[in-house]
């Protein structure tokens, strides 16, 4: 009784805030919860433009198709590997760059480096992939360089070798997004108390030691939160770069879940299969997100919720 009383008292006190929240609660409900209704498509032989009552129920048929298809496991593997590469490389490079930038004393140089490194983020993947294809083509700059340096006898068909694909994609994604990802770490670094650095300096800590013992621990909460959030997206390895850089010869390595859904779901008008794959992705993401959060909690680190 007392509890509810208190709750209403506080609600009235903060009524302005509560009112301000209403539009966003509605927004979240309409765009994030209502669409969950669409999941029923996965259990039907869904035909568009027919009313709900006319849809034919199919049980777990589409999930069975999904899990019995050998292609599915290949694209699942590709998805996991590509997003893991992206996650690890993305974190390592962005944090390293942020640490290095932070050590720069020349402001102009720092700004230039930062601007140049985040510019590629604004190029669309269509253009970016064209650049990559041109650079890596047999007459491209990479092959020219390597042959002139006698590291290669004849130009290599980089895009035609499946086992190079993950590496190429990883590097491309780093090139495109490293500067952008750095921004959040740089912001976090500015919030570290400068007196800590001063104290460390007086104690005789070298630059490297300061980086290791002050900056990195200072970044830890941000890193962990971002890691948890990104683990939730572990099956989102992206779609455009794989689609645009993929070709028959690297198909075994480039095709991911999203392309699979496009081809066998949307491409064939089989919306049910696409939805089933979508649900699968959500469930996996959910598990990853919650376990990461749980581990963080156990370790007494900052966490998402």
């Amino acid at each position: 009784m007392n509890q509810t009383h208190l709750f209403f008292k506080r609600l009235i006190q903060q009524k302005t805030l509560a009112f301000m929240c209403i539009p966003f609660v509605i927004w979240a409900f309409v765009f994030k919860y209502l669409p969950l209704w669409g999941w029923t498509m996965a259990f039907q032989n869904y035909k568009p433009a027919r009313s709900y009552s006319e849809q034919e129920w199919a049980g777990l048929k589409h999930f069975r198709i999904l899990f019995e298809d050998s292609t599915f496991y290949r694209v699942l593997r590709n998805t996991l590997v590509m997003s893991t590469i992206q996650l690890v490389l993305g974190f390592v490079t962005a944090i390293t760059l942020a640490l290095l930038l932070n050590e720069l004393k020349n402001l102009i140089f720092k700004r230039v480096v930062q601007t140049v490194s985040y510019l590629p983020h604004f190029i669309s993947w269509v253009v970016a992939s064209s650049i990559v294809l041109t650079v890596l083509s047999p007459d491209g700059i990479i092959n020219l360089l390597l042959t002139k340096l006698h590291l290669l006898d004849k130009p290599e068909l980089w895009m035609g070798k499946g086992n190079y694909f993950w590496g190429i994609l990883g590097v491309t994604q780093v090139w495109k997004d490293v500067g952008w990802n750095t921004i959040i770490y740089l912001a976090a670094i500015t919030s570290i108390d400068p007196s800590q650095y001063e104290a460390a300096e007086i104690d005789g800590a070298s630059r490297f030691q300061r980086m290791l013992n002050i900056t990195l621990p200072g970044l830890k909460p941000v890193i962990i939160i971002l890691l948890i959030m990104n683990l939730g997206n572990i099956l989102e390895s992206g779609f455009e770069p794989q689609y645009l850089l993929g070709n028959g010869m690297n198909l075994d390595y480039s095709e991911n879940l999203d392309i699979f859904v496009l081809k066998y779901g949307l491409g064939m008008g089989n919306f049910s299969l696409g939805t089933a794959a979508g649900i699968f992705k959500t469930v996996v993401s959910f598990i990853f997100l919650f376990s990461a959060n749980h581990i963080a909690k156990r370790m007494g680190e900052s966490r998402l919720f």
Binding site: V30, F31, L34, P35, L36, W37, G38, W39, M41, K47, P48, A49, S51, Y52, S53, E54, T71, S130, L133, T134, S137, P138, D139, L157, M159, G160, E236, F239, Y243, L244, G246, N247, G248, M249, L251, D252, D258, V261, L262, K263, Y264, G265, L266, G267, M268, G269, N270, F271, G274, T275, G278, K281, T282
Partner: protein
């Protein structure tokens, strides 16, 4: 990303269901077709020409979005009918766009389906047209009447207008498709008559040995366009052409038994692959054929380094136009009817056929179908068909003393050929993807329907180099280099619609994936491994259910031969 789209689509559906309720139930398409027709009837009893703008969406090749009346042709048609069009083209992926369009039910007034017809029909996006044609379509009946049975849907009704209703027949004089070769090679070897694949590659090799570099860059012997997702057929199709079959998609159809056999996994495909493998070992094949995108391919063709390539003319239009513009006839290409062995009759020119699996239809969301049908009917009047193809007399074409249509000067030719001018005049927007005569039609006065098919126009555009080449081979037009097509009443088999999500569709998607993976690798590997690679590929291929697919196509072909389209 897709999850998001599907969820949004789901939401749209839920909302639609909630708003529409049960009243919008089972026979929604019937209801929509009846009521607007009635409404249109009263609103436009006799030639209503009040200004109105409808939406037109095309899944075809992308062009700039435009208002019909901004072009000369669109303006003229607007004056006649009062109808203007907001013409929009697909940006991005067609499958996705169609999926979203269907899920949301948000259709424009009319749609040019291109490859998305099966999906749109499945979703009931189009209204049946029979009653409207009966009421308002004398010209539609004149043009499409003989073909009605070829594009009636399962329920016996007509839902859209395909683009191939030929009236009479005249063939294309400048036919160019198949194995292209740079003209400088033919010139260097004094215009030899080559017909077989071996001779073709032999000639490329001789020339490449003599000229290892062009403009400081390495010469490329042979290239093709099999890198992009949707263009892999450029590598698959030559096998059937080399064996003397026309383009029937993924199958070859026997002339007598009308049995359809897959090209994939056939002896023909093996022979074609083996030749490429051999040529690759000699350094003739450009490995980038299997990885480059369209821009890179076209850039390569215009660089003058490529000696030979395989493509369909419509794939390389930009490159050929640019080469022609550049004015160096030796660096241009000519397509030759290459086959496996001497004595095989080439069939590169498509037989007269009827493509019935795409077209333009009126959607259930159209506000006034009756008025649109009237617009279509007006468009199909002969004078308007001349307008969309030839344009306006003395402005974009001339009539000579014998009443033959031709171009009087370069200015008139450019109206049709210069991309910018043709856009401005409206040919680009109105000469295809609308209810129309078929490409090979003949006008009442004997002129060709399409300027491209008029011999006078064809020879008008020939350069000195063209004339020299044609004279060397003793022909007057390029199509004379090729054999005439044999009659194939089912043609083209590639227009046989596969049902969405059917086993046949599943098979062909899987088979294509398998080929995309194995064929390029097989070509680029050393010849010593060829047999092993081929066996590996066939092992995988034989696991797929090819019989179902072949039986399905065979049955459809036999149905078509029997007159059941």
């Amino acid at each position: 990303m897709f999850k998001g789209k599907i969820l949004t689509a789901g939401l749209a559906l839920v909302l639609a269901a909630a708003l529409g309720g049960c009243g919008n139930g089972s026979n929604s398409s019937d209801g929509a077709s009846n009521s607007p027709a009635a409404k249109g009837n009263s609103a436009s009893g006799s030639g209503d020409t009040s200004p109105v703008t409808y939406k037109y969406f095309s899944f075809g090749a992308p062009k700039k979005q435009i208002l019909g009346s901004e072009t000369t042709i669109g303006k003229e048609l607007q004056t006649q009918t009062g109808v203007d069009w907001n013409i929009e083209y697909l940006v991005g992926d067609g499958d996705t766009k169609a999926g979203v369009m269907i899920a949301s039910g948000d259709y424009p007034d009319i749609i040019d389906s291109s490859g998305q017809m099966a999906k749109l029909m499945d979703a009931g996006a189009f209204i049946p047209l029979d009653d409207l044609i009966e009421k308002y379509g004398p010209n539609i009946k004149r043009v499409y009447g003989p073909y009605f049975d070829k594009f009636r849907q399962k329920d016996g009704k007509l839902y859209f207008f395909p683009y191939g209703a030929n009236i009479g027949y005249v063939s294309e004089p400048n036919f160019q498709t198949g194995f292209y070769i740079q003209r400088s090679i033919l010139k260097e070897f004094n215009y030899p008559k080559i017909t077989t694949l071996d001779e073709y590659f032999d000639l490329l090799k001789q020339y490449k040995d003599k000229h290892p570099q062009v403009n400081g860059q390495d010469t490329i012997g042979f290239a093709t366009f099999a890198g992009e997702q949707g263009s892999f057929f450029t590598l698959q199709n030559p096998a059937m052409h080399l064996a003397g079959y026309p383009n029937d998609g993924s199958t070859m159809v026997d002339m007598k038994t009308h049995e359809a056999k897959l090209v994939a996994g056939s002896e023909y495909q093996k022979r074609w692959m083996q030749k490429l493998n051999e040529a690759n070992a000699q350094g003739l094949v450009d490995p980038e054929s299997f990885t480059m995108n369209r821009d890179q391919y076209l850039a390569k063709l215009t660089s003058g380094r490529v000696l030979g390539y395989f493509s369909y003319s419509w794939q390389v239009g930009d490159a050929t136009n640019n080469l022609k513009k550049a004015g160096d006839d030796d660096k241009r290409y000519v397509a030759l009817p290459i086959v496996f062995d001497k004595g095989i009759k080439d069939q590169y020119i498509d037989p007269p056929g009827f493509v019935n699996n795409y077209g333009v239809g009126i959607t259930v969301k159209a506000k006034d179908p009756a008025r649109i049908i009237k617009y279509f009917d007006n468009l199909l009047k002969e004078e308007n068909q001349i307008l969309v193809q030839w344009g306006i007399k003395d402005q974009s074409y001339a009539v000579d003393a014998n009443g033959r249509f031709t171009y009087a000067n370069d200015e008139q030719r450019q109206m049709h050929e210069d991309p910018e001018k043709s856009q401005k005049f409206g040919f680009d927007y109105f000469n295809y993807s609308w209810p129309r005569y078929g490409n090979n039609s003949v006008l009442e006065d004997g002129n060709a329907y399409g300027p491209g098919n008029q011999p006078e126009v064809a020879s008008f555009g020939y350069t000195e180099g063209d004339k020299k080449l044609l004279a060397a081979y003793g022909v007057k037009t390029f199509s004379e280099l090729f054999s005439n097509p044999d009659e194939r009443p089912w043609s083209p088999a590639w227009s046989i619609a596969l049902e969405q999500g059917s086993p046949e569709q599943m098979f062909i998607t899987k088979a294509d994936d398998l080929q995309r993976k194995y064929l390029p690798a097989m070509i680029l590997d050393s010849p010593a491994n060829f047999d092993k690679n081929w066996d590996d590929y066939m092992n995988q291929f034989n696991k797929l259910d090819k019989k179902t697919y072949e039986d399905f196509i065979t049955k459809k072909v036999q149905d078509r031969v029997a007159g059941k389209w």
